[in-house]
């Protein structure tokens, strides 16, 4: 009855690896937050299989991987998932540029939630470095979405249990 979920977690794992991969110092400020983008994508496309609880779990994993306060990304990612789930029917019919703008807004929201928690726990850091990932994520969204669409559509075509 319920569709297999391994593709969801496969993409999450890949996103996490891409986020932790060592980059040259010059590129580091522009590393997009891949996990947030994957969470947005799955909430948009498979809302029946990926919801707030899954986003929360992803967030906990991200917290452990980044060494941040346990619960910080869990909170910000469930917030993002909640907003996407509320709006996903509208967002699906958006043209690409409008969708990219919405993703930009969502990434900004996530960064603000993280900044707010950093501030509340006495680690406020208003360096512009915080906004590099947001910008990079929005710029890369069309490409990332095309790749994830290809992956998802191939799965759905080959195996009807994904439908």
């Amino acid at each position: 009855m319920s569709a297999p979920r391994w593709p969801v977690w496969l993409l999450v794992l890949l996103a996490l690896a891409a986020e932790l991969l060592s980059l040259p110092v010059a590129l580091q400020p522009l590393r997009p937050s891949w996990t947030t983008m994957v969470v947005i994508y799955w909430c948009l496309m498979w809302p029946g299989r990926f919801g707030v609880f899954s986003a929360f779990t992803v967030g906990l994993i991200v917290d452990v991987a980044h060494g941040s306060l346990l619960g910080q990304h869990a909170f910000s990612l469930s917030l993002v998932a909640y907003v996407v789930l509320k709006l996903h029917l509208q967002m699906r019919v958006f043209p690409l540029w409008q969708l990219t703008l919405s993703v930009f807004a969502l990434l900004t929201l996530e960064a603000f939630a993280v900044l707010w928690i950093d501030g509340a726990s006495g680690r406020a850091d208003f360096s512009p470095g915080r906004w590099g990932p947001v910008l990079a994520g929005a710029l890369l969204w069309p490409v990332a979405m095309a790749a994830m669409d290809r992956f998802r559509e191939r799965l759905e075509r080959r195996d009807s249990s994904f439908n």
Binding site: F56, V64, G67, S78, Y82
Partner: protein, 292 residues
């Protein structure tokens, strides 16, 4: 709340179970987690396990870099190896000449200390650790080491490289540990200036080649080029290891304090191996107090 039945763009039906309620629950849960993690040490053990569970992924991410490293070492040209060998040989010769001088100095130091009736310095023991090529957080300078409590690493242990102080361990997991670099904005190291023994604190800036010394008053005797070493105060770092060189002293602002920055001595941007320093005999592995 009743589940809402929706049909998506391709005609598939699914149930979108009240995301509002679920978000409320996860928000409460994450706030509770953050509170526990921030306020107390309740989560310490949990984070150790979670961090240990993360280790395979970190090793997997590190593997391309490690493979490249291995290839560079194993597929190097013969001539290259010969030149490298000869440079290392001459370096080693120079180093041992220096060491001879150091040995006499050390003996003299011990004699003088005995005359002054002060405690003799115990030589520090070191263990080599390798840094995994994993970037944890672009805003903070944290690294993962392949040495954990299994190898005797402990929380608060100092890390150095061939040129100077690198940082300290913040969390020891079983097979690995998490460490903070001296340039992290949350890190401060007690230092003293070699030229005159002036003691102060060097704080990280979030920039890999810059430390800041914010607590020096206008009349402090400091100038560009001064060498900074650890003072050994505070107990976290053993004394006498190089930290950096002063590169800018700016008194042009109307502050009571000088604006002083230093360049770290350690090559923080291209680290691969670090040394874990065991400060005294009772810290040496096997460490007995992992539960701190």
């Amino acid at each position: 709340m009743a589940p809402i039945q929706t049909v998506d763009s391709e005609g598939r039906a699914y149930r979108n179970v009240s995301p509002g309620l679920r978000f409320f629950l996860t928000a409460l849960l994450s706030l509770a987690l953050m509170f526990l993690d921030h306020r107390g040490t309740y989560m310490e053990q949990v984070r150790t396990w979670l961090g240990a569970a993360m280790y395979p992924l970190q090793v997997a991410i590190d593997s391309p870099a490690a493979g490249l490293h291995w290839m560079r070492e194993n597929l190097a040209l013969r001539e290259h190896l010969i030149t490298e060998n000869s440079t290392l040989r001459s370096q080693s010769l120079k180093d041992s000449a220096e060491l001879q001088r150091l040995a006499t100095l050390e003996a003299e130091n011990a004699r003088l200390r005995a005359l002054l009736d002060s405690r003799a310095r115990i030589p520090d023991r070191v263990v080599v650790g390798e840094i995994l090529a994993v970037d944890m957080d672009p805003l903070r300078h944290r690294i993962i080491l392949n040495r954990g409590s299994k190898d005797g690493a402990y929380k608060g242990q100092a890390l150095i490289d061939a040129r100077g102080v690198v940082g300290q361990i913040t969390r020891d997991q079983v097979n690995s540990s998490e460490a903070i670099l001296i340039t992290d904005p949350d890190h401060a190291v007690p230092v003293e200036i070699v030229r005159n023994g002036l003691r102060t604190i060097a704080v990280g800036t979030g920039d890999l080649d810059r430390l800041s010394l914010p607590y020096l008053t206008r009349n402090a005797d400091i100038k560009p080029g001064d060498q900074l070493v650890t003072s050994g105060l505070g107990g976290a770092f053993p004394g006498g290891y190089p930290v950096g060189t002063i590169n800018r002293v700016d008194g042009s602002s109307n502050d009571a304090f000088l604006d002083v920055t230093a360049t770290p001595a350690a090559a923080l941007d291209r680290l691969r191996e670090v040394l874990l320093v065991f400060q005294s005999a009772d810290d040496a592995p096997p460490a007995e107090d992992p539960g701190e």
